[in-house]
């Protein structure tokens, strides 16, 4: 709570307003701060009552609803929690958010199981041998202070996932106070190469894609319906796209080596030889025959015959695609993880982006993003290269203290990194954790975090649909366990150890956040309303919308550096490509301990509770493998064994294992189910960006002689309808959609 004395003290200090802005997250702001925005702090009228204490609205049997933000991924969907008798029961989408417009994905639905998870860490734990001993928060903070004493800034590192909003501000200020620049932002699954390609080509990392305005979408492995960037938002655009522009239903073509959820919804799905996505793109440009100058020169050798030979896509399909792209404009070409996961990932992505320029889509279905006026709060976006750098530094013994904010690199680093061993070289390791996952188990001190439904925060999503939005995260109920703490609260306590003066006005993160929002009230649309009203409105809306400027994209067509390698010869020893699949349920495996996620069938294979090796039936026949055979998948790095599932939606040269299972820690619903493909992933990197080339691992398959029953939801008839009209289908020439309701 902010007591008026401390505020007066603060106000009485030689007080640098610029620094103060930085403390609260509005430093470098492009949106104006009103002079009177921070009266409440300066005149000390502030009293903060955390709303979780106010219980007078609780009527037994009647639900109340609070708005907050989904934290299961970084898309930033807004949620409305249904609360009864003080317990959160169910989440719905908040209809007011332009991102998810009232909808949620399955992962978002399962967030309540994160909150109520029986395996959450409940006490600060200090390592004692191989056990964790519960200690008090005072002791934990004191210990951190003690361990930091005499340690230089460059000897301290922090690794986190994507982070934005005021948590990012505090995190930044804390690192600053430690004199450390070593904040590694790491996401195991992130479109970092696509961002780099976009930046070069469009001048921005993430433009706005308008699937809903496109008549044809050609996607090279971008699983925008399942896992890519902002899936709920894109799913809604997709629904509009299928209804059609001017009554003409949108056509989706998906080219990838392993079918994704998006691929499963395509009008035409093309099995592309792994790594040749860029070649296919140049082949289509060639077939279009409209390119001029440099571009024409670049594609002139990519004739159908060659492209078909190299990519495995039939020449007739290349013609058909070129024809429909020419006929129906505007279209939209997307590039996703399947294309970026190679050594030449950036080249692949560049070749694919080029198609958008040739087709004239830029500015029509690809728009400039809205820019966030508060740079301190804009999201820091994770990269896999960050983990590589951190790992190298750790191996060199550079760090004495390592903070890990709820990331799990011991689970998601390729085995050859030896991350676990390298992490041990850091003298003192602090993990902010929800679960005792593989990485938290290696820490010396574990700080138990509040669930996202107990915590305060602000989030600015990377992909903004419409306007700039600052999403509010607020507790939907009181904390379940007395000794967990909010991420912001922990940061505040830590930063106070360094900069007591600047932060002493804030007793807790709630107070900080409230002051921060009110200080900038006018710029946030609250000019004229009093503080309490504005704050309450902000919380009840769950979103602060700002109109952000969105300029034009500055297209830069420079094909001089664009060169695609000829497809690799098949390696006799490791003849298959390993595709570590990102699935909509599991993503990077941080939610595997939510039982609804484990029991929710994989949309494509319908498998539950286990990993599988996806293999084309033709290849399986050749190798004498049937469904349920346990096979050993061996790469240069190592091997894992898992059950085979025969799946026609994969190129015969490839096998696929999903990411996210194979935990040997974390909790009862995750531990011991399945295998982890990161254990056999070779450390190969995208050559321009240094990102991990996740699709470059080559493997061989051997039978182990064991066979199991695959646990799946498919039903005895497999994928077949046995001649009944169950899931029926028409083609566009049979149906007139324009008459429909």
């Amino acid at each position: 709570m902010i007591d008026s004395d401390s505020v007066k003290n603060l106000a009485g200090h030689p007080f640098d307003r610029r620094d103060f802005l930085k403390v609260l997250g509005w430093g470098g702001a492009a949106a104006a701060l009103s002079g009177c925005g921070n009266t409440s702090i300066e005149d000390g009228k502030e009293t903060v009552v955390s709303y979780v204490e106010a219980k007078d609205y609780v009527i037994p049997g009647v639900a109340v609803y609070f708005n907050s933000t989904c934290a299961q991924c970084d898309a930033g969907c807004s949620i409305t929690g249904k609360i009864r008798e003080g317990r959160v029961l169910k989440l719905e989408g908040n209809p007011e958010s332009p991102i998810n417009k009232g909808r949620l994905c399955g992962l978002g639905q399962a967030a309540v199981q994160h909150h109520y998870n029986p395996d959450r860490v409940r006490e600060p734990l200090l390592r004692n041998g191989d056990k964790g001993e519960a200690i008090s928060w005072e002791k934990a903070y004191a210990l951190i202070n003690e361990k930091l004493a005499g340690v230089k800034g460059e000897e301290i590192a922090l690794v986190s996932g994507d982070v934005s909003g005021h948590q990012k501000v505090l995190l930044g200020n804390y690192m600053d106070s430690l004199g450390s620049k070593n904040h590694f932002v790491y996401e195991a699954v992130s479109p970092a190469v696509v961002r780099a390609a976009n930046l070069k080509f469009y001048g921005v990392e993430m433009p706005r894609y308008r699937i809903d305005k496109a008549k044809v979408v050609l996607s090279f492995g971008a699983d925008f319906l399942g896992t890519w960037v902002s899936p709920v938002h894109f799913a809604q655009q997709y629904a509009a796209f299928r209804k059609g522009v001017d009554g003409q239903r949108g056509v989706l073509i998906q080219a990838e080596s392993k079918m994704t959820l998006t691929g499963a919804n395509a009008d035409r799905w093309l099995a592309v030889r792994p790594g040749t996505e860029g070649i296919l793109a140049l082949g289509i440009i060639n077939a279009l025959g409209v390119a001029t100058g440099d571009v024409a020169e670049l594609v002139k050798d990519y004739d159908k015959v060659r492209v078909s030979r190299e990519t495995g896509v039939e020449p007739s399909n290349i013609d058909k695609i070129a024809a429909i792209l020419k006929l129906r404009s505007p279209s939209l070409v997307l590039v996703g993880s399947a294309a970026e996961g190679y050594q030449h990932g950036l080249q692949n992505a560049a070749a694919i982006n080029l198609l958008n320029q040739v087709l004239g889509n830029v500015g029509k279905t690809i728009e400039a993003p809205v820019s966030v006026p508060f740079p301190q709060m804009a999201p820091a976006k994770g990269k896999t290269a960050a983990l590589k750098d951190l790992n190298d530094d750790l191996a060199a013994g550079k760090y004495k203290v390592l903070f890990n904010v709820a990331t799990n690199p011991v689970f998601t680093a390729p085995a050859s990194y030896k991350f676990r061993d390298n992490m041990a070289k850091a003298g003192f390791k602090v993990a902010f954790a929800h679960y005792l996952d593989e990485t938290a188990l290696q820490a010396d001190l574990v700080l138990p975090l509040d669930s996202e439904m107990e915590d305060w925060g602000t989030h600015v999503p990377e992909y903004l649909a419409d306007t700039v939005q600052i999403n509010i995260q607020q507790p939907l109920m009181e904390r379940l366990h007395a000794n967990t703490r909010g991420f912001g609260d922990i940061l505040l306590a830590l930063v106070k150890q360094r900069r007591a003066e600047e932060y002493k006005a804030f007793d807790d993160y709630y107070g900080y956040l409230r002051s921060a929002v009110l200080q900038n009230k006018a710029a946030l649309g609250g000019a004229g309303s009093d503080d309490d009203t504005f704050w309450n409105d902000t919380l009840s809306n769950g979103i602060v919308k700002l109109s952000g400027a969105s300029g034009a994209l500055s297209l830069k067509v420079d094909v001089s550096g664009l060169k695609l390698p000829t497809p690799k010869e098949i390696d006799e020893q490791y003849p298959m490509n390993l595709i570590p699949a990102v699935t909509s349920n599991l993503r990077d495996g941080r939610h595997t301990n939510q039982p609804w996620i484990q029991e929710s069938p994989d949309p494509l294979t319908t498998i539950v509770w286990d990993s599988w090796v996806e293999m084309h039936p033709k290849m399986a026949l050749q190798l004498g493998i049937v469904e349920g055979d346990i096979v050993k998948v061996t790469s240069k790095t190592g091997s894992v064994s898992a059950q085979v599932y025969l799946f026609p939606g994969i190129h015969p040269d490839a096998v696929s294992i999903p990411i996210g299972r194979g935990h040997d820690a974390m909790g009862r619903y995750a531990k011991g189910y399945g295998v982890n493909p990161f254990e056999i992933m070779d450390a190969v990197f995208e050559s321009a960006t240094g990102e991990l080339a996740m699709h470059e691992t080559r493997v061989n398959i051997t039978k182990t002689g064991q066979r199991v029953i695959v646990v799946k939801d498919e039903g005895p008839a497999g994928g077949r309808q046995m001649g009944r009209k169950i899931a029926a289908r028409m083609s566009t020439d049979q149906v007139d959609l324009s008459k429909e309701v």
């Binding site: 239903r249 093309l270 099995a271 929710s600 899931a727 566009t732």
Partner: protein, 284 residues
């Protein structure tokens, strides 16, 4: 006795809605699912777990077919021997079709499953004796039996997880049958509120949990006898009639260019769920 005779006799004694002199009034809950919009993402199914207190059975019991998902996404691919499913898969959300003449009802020895006034197939848990005849007789295989006492089974709802249980929905014990209810607890709440205000439930006032979550809006739900409801309009535009076992539009030469159909309609269970056929582009 021939099968035709059997069916004729059955139809004569069978009580089902709407019967001519007693149409559904004021409610007949029904659904329309657009398979061209459905992407097979499973969000609806997870939302159903959250809303309806469905137990997670775990790998072993799943293997034995004891999964309790009231809503499942069936997935099909082409059967014509092509190398690849190169026109994608077909996804089909499948749950109780709330049949108007439900085959599950007639075989229940204790009358635990019945047709309600507002057009649902209800399940009375504390009357159910677990004979499982209903499940055997359901053409859609959407009934799920509690082989175990899930509330007391390890790791189904361990401490804290049980806090999430929806107090508006019974937690079922061992030995009873269960299935999709069209989120009857939401319907009843809306009906009671509306009645208190002297009106009927308005279009959009109540949503099922699956419908509410669905990212593409593939599911529409509402009162089929309310001419203002989207479901009513959709059924009408698609020329699908609730109490027909064969739609007129399909008897025309060359079939129909409308997408609406009901699954296994010819079995004369008169399902309350209409599906709209998936569409695939003919030009690519």
């Amino acid at each position: 006795m021939s099968v035709t005779n059997l069916l004729d006799n059955w139809a004569a004694v069978r009580h089902f809605h709407p019967i001519d002199d007693k149409p559904h009034d004021p409610y007949k809950w029904a659904m329309a699912i657009d398979l061209d919009a459905c992407i097979g993402c499973n969000a609806c199914a997870v939302a159903c777990y959250a809303e309806n207190n469905l137990p997670v059975v775990g790998r072993e019991k799943f293997k034995h077919g004891q999964v309790m998902h009231w809503m499942r996404i069936e997935r099909y691919w082409d059967e014509d021997g092509r190398d690849y499913p190169d026109q994608g898969f077909q996804f089909l959300p499948m749950m109780c079709q709330q049949c108007e003449a439900a085959p599950c009802e007639t075989v229940c020895p204790v009358g635990a499953t019945n047709h309600t006034q507002d057009g649902l197939n209800s399940q009375i848990y504390n009357r159910c004796i677990g004979s499982r005849y209903c499940s055997a007789n359901c053409p859609f295989k959407v009934r799920y039996f509690n082989w175990y006492d899930y509330p007391t089974t390890e790791n189904v709802w361990p401490a804290e997880m049980n806090y999430q249980l929806n107090p508006d929905v019974t937690v079922r014990g061992k030995g009873v049958m269960e299935k999709c209810t069209f989120c009857v607890q939401r319907l009843r709440a809306a009906e009671v509120t509306a009645k208190g205000e002297g009106r009927i439930v308005r279009e959009g006032e109540v949503q099922t949990a699956c419908q509410q979550s669905c990212p593409t809006g593939a599911i529409s739900f509402g009162n089929l006898v309310d001419p203002e409801s989207r479901v009513h309009k959709q059924w009408q535009a698609q020329q699908v009639d609730l109490d027909k076992d064969m739609q007129e539009k399909n008897q025309k030469e060359g079939g129909s260019d409308l997408r609406g159909y009901r699954i296994l309609e010819e079995l004369r269970s008169y399902p309350s769920v209409m599906y709209l056929e998936r569409v695939r582009e003919s030009a690519v």
